[in-house]
Structures are given as structure tokens and as C-alpha cells.
């Protein structure tokens, strides 16, 4: 097996993650996050080679348990697991036993009996991954739980920013749109603040969580003022069913005031970059003109960084497994 020069050294620095599970950014500290980002950097280089395979997770089984559909995150974890040499199984309980009345815990306990080493879970309820982690013997990775957290997304976003700007400390980041329902926003606020960025939350009052100002981030309802001088403008996905008079009056009104387009982006810093966790509603929260411009958009980088960031998490959890 060939490895990139220097990767061995990166992998050698892989630090044994001091936790069994990867559930929440709130559980992490700066040292852990920095180590994960360093490790992920090494994997980015690996992923750009022809031969991408390592054997850090050889013999290990990774189970993707997605109660909510997500092609992007699921395939990202699948690739991350396979590139590290794990056997990967994808389960979509939506189409099988859950509809027969089996509970989350029953499903988890059943799968646990098949002796997976790592369970990657996405579920529509906040706290679902944490609940599951209390009932199974393997490591659990939270791939999104309701409106709570999506920690690997925050890690890949931080990685994308660090590679684009060379640092995170001191960056001004505006997180824009449906903050209320967004687990991406919650994880990103926690991680970016931990790493020293200045975070702002921008969106209509109906899409802001109660007392969001107490998260230590400035809250703006005027998009242009909110993004003023920002290095990064991150647009969040707004589910279409929340438009149409529910949380916002209409798509066109939302786009007019909160959609990220060239004109609004001009209020950010001159070198500002645009991010989006995907999948995008083009013409709703973001304009294609901006999203597809490689000079300003980091959106494709985010997808690439996603695989590397997840490899870093898997490798770190596996390092703990090896020590066990």
C-alpha cells in the first residue's frame, strides 16, 4: 500500500480520542478539534491520490443508520469508512422495521448484537444519538439529531475555512437563514467560537431561536448589516414547507430579504467566501450566480472536506478502540 509522503507522520500523530462517542461539539475542546483538523488535512491529500486506501480500520465494521434520508452525508461516511479499510453497511430503517412499530432503541440493540464497531446515526429527534449511545456497546457518531447538533458538519466547515484562510481565529462568520431549526448552525456556533472566530446570526425573527443573543453571537435581522465585513457568509437550508406563510410569507419575499446573492454579498469583506451545508434551494436561500462561482464559493470544497473530516473522526475513534 502506498501512502503519501508525510501522511504516515500525520497518522502517527493521530491522538487517541478520549471519548467513546462523537455526539456533540459541546463535548469537545480546542485541543481535540485542532488535532482532528490536522489529521483531516492529511486525509485531504490522501483523497486526492489515485490510491486512496488505508488500513487503519481494517476488520472494523461501520454501520450507517440513517432514519432520515441523506445521500450526501451517508455516502460521505461510507467513503470515509471504506477509505480507511472498514466494512461499511448502510441501513435505512425508514423503509424497514421502524414502520412495523419497532422503536429506535430496539433497532439499535438489534444492530448492536451484530457487533459493529462504529454506528453512524442520523435521526429526526434531538438527543436521539445520545440516547442510542447509552444503549449500545459500540462507538456512536452523531450524523445529525433533530435540531440539536451535526458535529461532523461543523468539523468539515471549520476545515474548509481553515484551508481557505489559513486560520479560524479572528474570522468573521455570518450564519444566515433558518437558525431556529438548524443543527448545523448550533454545531457551527459552538465550534467556531471555540476556535476564536466571531460569529453572527442573521435571519428573520421567526427563524431565530429564543435568546439566541445569549449564544455569544450577535443577532441581525438586516442581512446587509449582518454580513457587513464578514469573511465567510454561510447560508442555511430553509425547508420549503416552512415558507409559504408559515415562518416566512413567500419564497420571493424570503429571497429578497434573506437570499444570498451577489448584491448582498458585496456588503461582506472583499475577499469573502460563501458556504452552504447542502442540499441547496437555489433561488431561495442562495443564488446560483454566487453558489457556482469558484472564486467565492467553498461549497464544493465543503463536500470534499466532508470525507476527510469524517475520516479523521473515524480514525480517532478507532485509535481509542485499538487501545481498548
Amino acid at each position: 500500500m502506498t501512502t503519501l509522503a508525510g501522511l504516515d507522520e500525520v497518522i502517527g500523530r493521530r491522538f487517541p480520542f478520549p471519548r467513546r462517542h462523537f455526539l456533540s461539539v459541546a463535548d469537545l475542546n480546542v485541543v481535540e478539534v485542532s488535532s482532528l483538523l490536522d489529521l483531516a488535512d492529511g486525509f485531504v491529500a490522501l483523497n486526492r491520490q489515485t490510491s486512496k486506501k488505508l488500513d487503519l480500520l481494517k476488520g472494523r465494521t461501520l454501520m450507517n443508520l440513517f432514519f432520515e434520508n441523506s445521500t450526501r452525508t451517508q455516502s460521505s461516511f461510507e467513503l470515509a469508512g471504506k477509505r480507511l479499510g472498514a466494512d461499511v453497511v448502510n441501513m435505512s430503517p425508514r423503509s424497514s422495521s421502524i414502520s412495523k412499530g419497532e422503536t429506535l432503541i430496539d433497532t439499535a440493540v438489534t444492530l448492536n448484537a451484530m457487533q459493529p464497531d462504529i454506528l453512524v446515526v442520523r435521526h429526526a429527534s434531538s438527543g436521539a444519538a445520545s440516547l442510542l449511545s447509552q444503549k449500545v456497546g459500540c462507538s456512536v457518531i452523531n450524523a445529525g439529531d433533530g435540531q440539536h447538533e451535526h458535529p461532523t458538519q461543523a468539523l468539515l466547515d471549520a476545515l474548509s475555512m481553515r484551508r481557505a484562510f489559513g486560520r479560524i481565529a479572528g474570522l468573521k462568520v455570518a450564519i444566515c437563514g433558518d437558525v431556529l431549526h438548524s443543527r448545523v448552525a448550533r454545531s457551527n456556533v459552538a465550534m467556531l467560537q471555540m476556535l476564536g472566530a466571531e460569529v453572527r446570526l442573521v435571519g428573520p425573527p421567526t427563524l431565530m431561536p429564543a435568546q439566541a443573543e445569549r449564544w455569544g453571537a450577535a443577532v441581525h435581522h438586516d442581512f446587509r448589516k449582518g454580513v457587513a465585513g464578514c469573511d465567510v457568509v454561510m447560508a442555511l437550508r430553509l425547508q420549503l414547507e416552512r415558507m409559504d406563510g408559515v415562518m416566512a410569507p413567500s419564497q420571493r419575499e424570503y429571497f429578497r430579504f434573506y437570499g444570498l446573492d451577489r448584491e448582498k454579498l458585496a456588503h461582506a469583506a472583499p475577499h469573502a467566501r460563501v458556504m452552504h451545508p447542502g442540499p441547496m434551494n437555489r433561488g431561495v436561500e442562495i443564488d446560483s450566480d454566487v453558489a457556482d462561482d469558484p472564486d467565492v464559493s467553498l461549497i464544493q470544497d465543503q463536500v470534499e472536506m466532508g470525507v476527510a473530516a469524517r475520516m479523521a473522526v473515524l480514525a480517532s475513534l478507532a485509535a481509542r478502540l485499538d487501545n481498548a
Binding site: L104, I105, S126, G127, S130, L131, H148, E149, W215
Partner: protein
């Protein structure tokens, strides 16, 4: 049954205002004599003397808000298991919520419950009747017939009566039969889908939440309807500082309103939810600490007069779920008294005032023959060591369901013996 004399006890009887040494003589299921300060004098030879060893002797507790699963969901709790839990907690009279399956919205279901309770023969059981058919908030239930059958108040339990016209008619009609209506103040649209109290904590956990104003909005409506109809209202579990302000204004205008507080909202705040602890998922949800403090203050000033256990059994399969899918509610019959004593131990509320909220205050509100240590009253008594510490182990609770938020908590106070109509129905082992 031999007469019994309870001696060497500290008698706390809020109805007469006595808190001090004394003794109580029980004969033929009723209290034959009460000695406040002194002894009972010379006792005839057939009297069995129970030496309380300095423990508290209280009137048996009266709990206005209890749910069981019978009829309809006996895996949660049966009338028998609830009665055993009540006995173990020193609760001698329970009022059952009507939201069973079938709903207590006509006299035969009330008859069934009363007949079962007579067969079980442990504690006094009183049904509450539904205000509307199926507790759906649309058409009035047979309130008069249920009153005749023995229902002690009218309520749709957890479900607010949304339609103000229906609520007005229920209040007015029930008053014609001398029945009070208990109503949960919650704006149905604001609370729809909510699992927590709106604020920083719920936002961080990503839980769907409702603002405290939801409680105030509905309470203000209810107060206006009370003013309109002149009917008496029981405010079912006030939980927020905002609603307490409304309540205070209503009472100062002389409205015939009585508010209850649940022991859970007096004992816990939202932080106890911690890492999505579903045993702390309640309806109404746990509030901010400011709200809890305001509620304790309201209890000490008498703004809130009654404490309920809000006993709501939910089996493990309904609780071992993601937080927003888990069933709300907590069992509480067995922990009510020791949990309440916490405010006595803290020095927040005098013991006699605390005991009033679970004895003569609820009994007098409904006119039940309970809650007092008076000559001729039914001999419903609790002997309790107020200082004995105990760590609550939910698995050891008597209820069929073990969903206690007090699990793992240390409480001070232990029921030693519970007496109903002169019969000992519980004795600590």
C-alpha cells in the same frame, strides 16, 4: 377492630391550626378523640396503643390530580397499583383524572371506577368527570349525571378546552350542579408540538418549545370567563411566574379561583432535563428556575393553595424514546410527601402550611370528608418520620410504571404508617 391510640407523636393538623405534641384515638374507623398538647387520659383496656416514637401524625393526604391506566391502559397502572402507591406515600384520598379509555364522560364509567375502588378497599377514590364528550372540547358531557354518580369536579385533564364558547357553557352549567371546573391553562396553538419551555436551554438542546406566555394567555381567558359566569374555577397546575401574576390580579378582584401546583414544578427546573432525560419530560414542561422560585413563593404566600402529585404513570417503552417522542408525565404518589417536606427542611415554608396544601385545603375545596384530625372525622392518618433520609430508587416504587424524576435523589422524610378509616393500609418494613 380494636380501637387504636396514636401516642407520643407530633400532631400537625392544619384545619385546627395545631402543631405540637398530642395523641389521637381511633375507634370504629373514625377519630374518637384528639388530644392537643396533653394525653388522651385513661384508656380502656381494649385500646391498642401505637407509640409513634416522636414521629409526625398528619391527616391522610388528599391528592387532586392522579392518573392510572384503568380502564384502558392497565400496563401503565391499575387502580390497585395506584392505590398501593398512594398508601405507601401517605395519600389516603385520590381524585382520578377522566382521560382514561373510555373517557369518564358519562356516569357508568364513574360507577365502574368507584365499584373497583370499593373492591380494592385501600384508599378513598374519587373520580373527576370530563367536561366534554371524549374530552375533545366540543360537546358538553353529562355533567349532572356524573355529579350524581360521585364525580367531584369536572375537567378535560391535559387537554385545554379551546373553544371559549364551550368553556363558558361548561363553567356555567357545572356551577348549576355545584361542580367546579378544573382547566389546564395552555394556549393550544402555542404549545402544539412543544416538548420544552422556550428559552436558551431548550434552544441549545434543539427541542421544540413553547413560551411561558402560552399559559398566561389561556389563564387570562379563563379568568375573564369566570368573571362572566361567576362560576368557580380550579387552575390546573400553574407553572410560570407570568401566570402567577395573572392569578394574583384575578384573586385581588375577588374571582372564585383556586390554583394548584405540581410537586414536580416545585422541585425541578428545565436544567434537570440534562442530556435528554425523558423522566423529566412533563406536561406542562419543566420551567426556568425563576418560575420555580416564583411558584415556591406563591405557595408560601398562599397565592397557590394546593399541591398535587400530578401522578402520571408511563411505562419504560413510552419513556425510552427520543425526547420529543417520549410520553410526558411522572409518577408521584409515593414521593409527594417527602418531596414537599424539602421546603420545610429548607426553612422556606412552615410545616403546618405545607401540610395544609395536601390535606384540608384540597379536601375543603371539594367538600371531601378528609384532611383533618377532628373528632368524628374518618380516621385517615399518616405517621411520618420527617427527618429520615432516603435515596429514591425508581425501580423500587410501588407503581407499575417507574417514571420518577426523583430517581437517584435523596429526600428527607419517610412514611411509617398509613391508616384509612382506621385500617392500616401501609406500614414501612
Amino acid at each position: 377492630m380494636r380501637p387504636q391510640a396514636f401516642t407520643n407523636v407530633r400532631v400537625v393538623d392544619p384545619a385546627s391550626g395545631w402543631d405540637g405534641p398530642g395523641a389521637v384515638l381511633v375507634r370504629d374507623g373514625v377519630i374518637a378523640d384528639v388530644a392537643q398538647g396533653g394525653g388522651l387520659g385513661s384508656l380502656s383496656e381494649d385500646v391498642e396503643v401505637v407509640d409513634g416514637g416522636g414521629a409526625l401524625l398528619l391527616p391522610g393526604l388528599v391528592d387532586l390530580r392522579v392518573k392510572t391506566g384503568e380502564p384502558g391502559a392497565e400496563t401503565k397502572e391499575t387502580l390497585k397499583s395506584a392505590a398501593l402507591a398512594a398508601a405507601a406515600g401517605g395519600v389516603t384520598s385520590i381524585v382520578l383524572q377522566p382521560d382514561t379509555d373510555p373517557v369518564v364522560d358519562e356516569p357508568s364509567v364513574a360507577d365502574f371506577i368507584l365499584r373497583r375502588a370499593r373492591d380494592i378497599h385501600l384508599v378513598h377514590v374519587y373520580p373527576a368527570g370530563a367536561a366534554t364528550k371524549g374530552a375533545r372540547g366540543e360537546r358538553m358531557a353529562e355533567i349532572g349525571l356524573m355529579a350524581e354518580a360521585g364525580c367531584v369536579y369536572i375537567t378535560d385533564a391535559d387537554r385545554p378546552i379551546v373553544d371559549s364558547k364551550v368553556m363558558r357553557r361548561v363553567l356555567a352549567y357545572a356551577a348549576g350542579f355545584g361542580m367546579q371546573v378544573a382547566h389546564r391553562p395552555a394556549d393550544p396553538w402555542l404549545v402544539a408540538g412543544a416538548a420544552a419551555s422556550e428559552g436558551e436551554f431548550a434552544a441549545r438542546l434543539g427541542l421544540p418549545s413553547a413560551p411561558a406566555a402560552a399559559e398566561k394567555i389561556m389563564l387570562e381567558r379563563d379568568l375573564a370567563l369566570v368573571e362572566l359566569t361567576g362560576a368557580r374555577l380550579i387552575v390546573d397546575q400553574v407553572t410560570t411566574a407570568l401566570a402567577l401574576e395573572s392569578l394574583e390580579r384575578g384573586l385581588s378582584r375577588g374571582l372564585p379561583v383556586t390554583a394548584t401546583a405540581s410537586i414536580n414544578h416545585l422541585s425541578f427546573n428545565e436544567i434537570d432535563i440534562g442530556d435528554y432525560r425523558t423522566f423529566c419530560k412533563l406536561d406542562p414542561p419543566l420551567r426556568h428556575e425563576d418560575d420555580r422560585q416564583a411558584l415556591i413563593e406563591a405557595l408560601s404566600t398562599g397565592l397557590v393553595k394546593i399541591v398535587v402529585s400530578a401522578h402520571a404513570p408511563a411505562p419504560a417503552e413510552d419513556k425510552r424514546l427520543p425526547y420529543d417522542e417520549a410520553a410526558p408525565g411522572a409518577v408521584g404518589l409515593q414521593t409527594l410527601l417527602p418531596a414537599l417536606l424539602a421546603f420545610h427542611h429548607d426553612g422556606r415554608i412552615p410545616l403546618i402550611d405545607l401540610i395544609r396544601t395536601v390535606t384540608c385545603a384540597p379536601a375543603d375545596l371539594l367538600g371531601l370528608p378528609a384532611g383533618r384530625l377532628a373528632k368524628g372525622a374518618p380516621a385517615d392518618l399518616v405517621l411520618c418520620d420527617p427527618n429520615a433520609p432516603q435515596v429514591i430508587d425508581a425501580d423500587k416504587l410501588v407503581s407499575k410504571s417507574k417514571n420518577s424524576p426523583f430517581d437517584g435523589r435523596t429526600l428527607q422524610g419517610r412514611v411509617l404508617r398509613t391508616v384509612v378509616d382506621g385500617r392500616t393500609v401501609y406500614e414501612a418494613g
